[in-house]
Amino acid sequence: MNPLSIYLTDSATMLRRNLRHMRRYPMFFFIAGIPIVFLLLFVFVLGGTLGAGLGGVAGGRAEYVAYVIPGILLVTVSGGAQGTAISVAMDMTEGIVARFRTMSISRASFLSGHVLANVLQTMAAVAIVVVVALVIGFRPTTGPIEWLAAIGLLALSALALTWISVALGLVSKSVETASNLPMPLLLLPFFGSGFVPTASMPDPLRWFADNQPFTPIIETVRRLLLGGEISSTGLIAVAWCVAITLVGYLWARRLYDRDPAR
């Protein structure tokens, strides 16, 4: 077998292993549940006031539902990624990883298995969040092509954030650290255009919000679901995802390949 087919075969094996873990010890309830709580909180508790501040024609809660969904979807993606850091760190405390390292298998497959399983889990959570959004009155205005593109971009950002999270799991010396390190990922949608327009923020914060990776991703998803020009924003969003994936992958590979006994 050539290296690529070994990588694919071994990654599929590791993916099955990780999916089994997920089925037996489900974190899915939290990964889908927490963004749904956020969604309900932001729409029904804060939505009336925040929606009025958007200054649209419809005004109030109905307009805010439409505004906040892309942000909530990104919170779902970051929250999902966070789980990988924990499961990778848990694996690293067990002897099984030493076994994998002394076997003639594709070295990256252990990491890829975690990533693929987590992207699948995150996208399942995204689907549930979307269903809840539709139930509480989210009415997307675009066609199936835009929907597919939005799902694709969310999957791409899940891939990017999950690779970063794998690296954070490997760099952590304990499972506790691994569960806290990815926390900033969960907060970034709030320091962007996820919940209120960046125009309403004070200047330095606004500069940060406009230029951090979550904002173009959220904006692109928003325009894909509700209409609007996406050309350059979409490119920037995809570029961020590719760059973060690459950094996360290379960082994780390097951490995994270092001498485990240093």
Partner: protein, 319 residues
Amino acid sequence: MTGPATAPAIRAVGLRRSYGRLLVLDGIDIEVGAGTVFALLGPNGAGKTTTVNILSTLIPAHGGDVQVAGHDVRREPDAVRATIGVTGQFSAVDALLTGEENLILMADLRHLGKRAGRKRVAALLEQFDLLDAAKKPVQTYSGGMRRRLDLAMTLVGDPRIIFLDEPTAGLDPRSRRVMWQIVRDLVAGGVTIFLTTQYLEEADRLAGRIAVLDGGKIVAEGTPDELKRLVPGGHFRLEFADAADLDKAARAFADASRDDEALTLQVPSDGGVGSLRNLLDRLDKESIVVGGLSVQTPDLDDVFLSLTGHDGKQKAAAR
């Protein structure tokens, strides 16, 4: 197997490794013939696990050359990995999966194919007495069951060279015997085994050659018999009622070592019946009153006392 048939299964020359400033392996040489059992004997902290980790490609050496199955561990780690199986000191099983799922995971990673893989897994479950527990999560397994599963996982790909790092540490006597029998069966099948142990008895029973590792150096190597000849650690232990008797006995046996606190005297001996008769005759002749007598056979402490001049356990604790 690759390489000429006469080539050793494992060959290490001048192996060195340190952790930070602590030198753990200080240039050790190891040669293990194909199809033989080699035991690395030593106390905790001697560097046994480090040696296994280097030979099995888990960690790099800081010096020296290592070849396993004719392949350099640094340049061709994957060729080495394809030939070896490793059962480490700490259980390398996936506790969240069942026993059967663990074995299937190994079969898939060894690319055995679905049918051949399942067949091998079923055979191993039976061979290792794990059929009843096959569908239960490993978290519910006892220590002995985990160890058996661990070894079964190592055997899935029929490795020709197997590393066993303290395979019986923490096992009860029955599980230990089961493990010994498994090792013997493997050797009968032509597998090369490299094992580490703290127990002289275990090395004696299983290994064709034993190397004694201490303080990062190999201090003795040979067959079990050769090694035992180096170890005059067997002795008679005499107990006395008072110091006067102990004094008297100590004068009679000049080469004995005395313990004034315990009122005992250790008389070196091979532990045989002939020397016991001589000892009793001597005690009789000198009219020494002995409170108790026991026969001590050489153990690991004696190996270290005679080979290194210090007690293995104390050395380990001091590290």
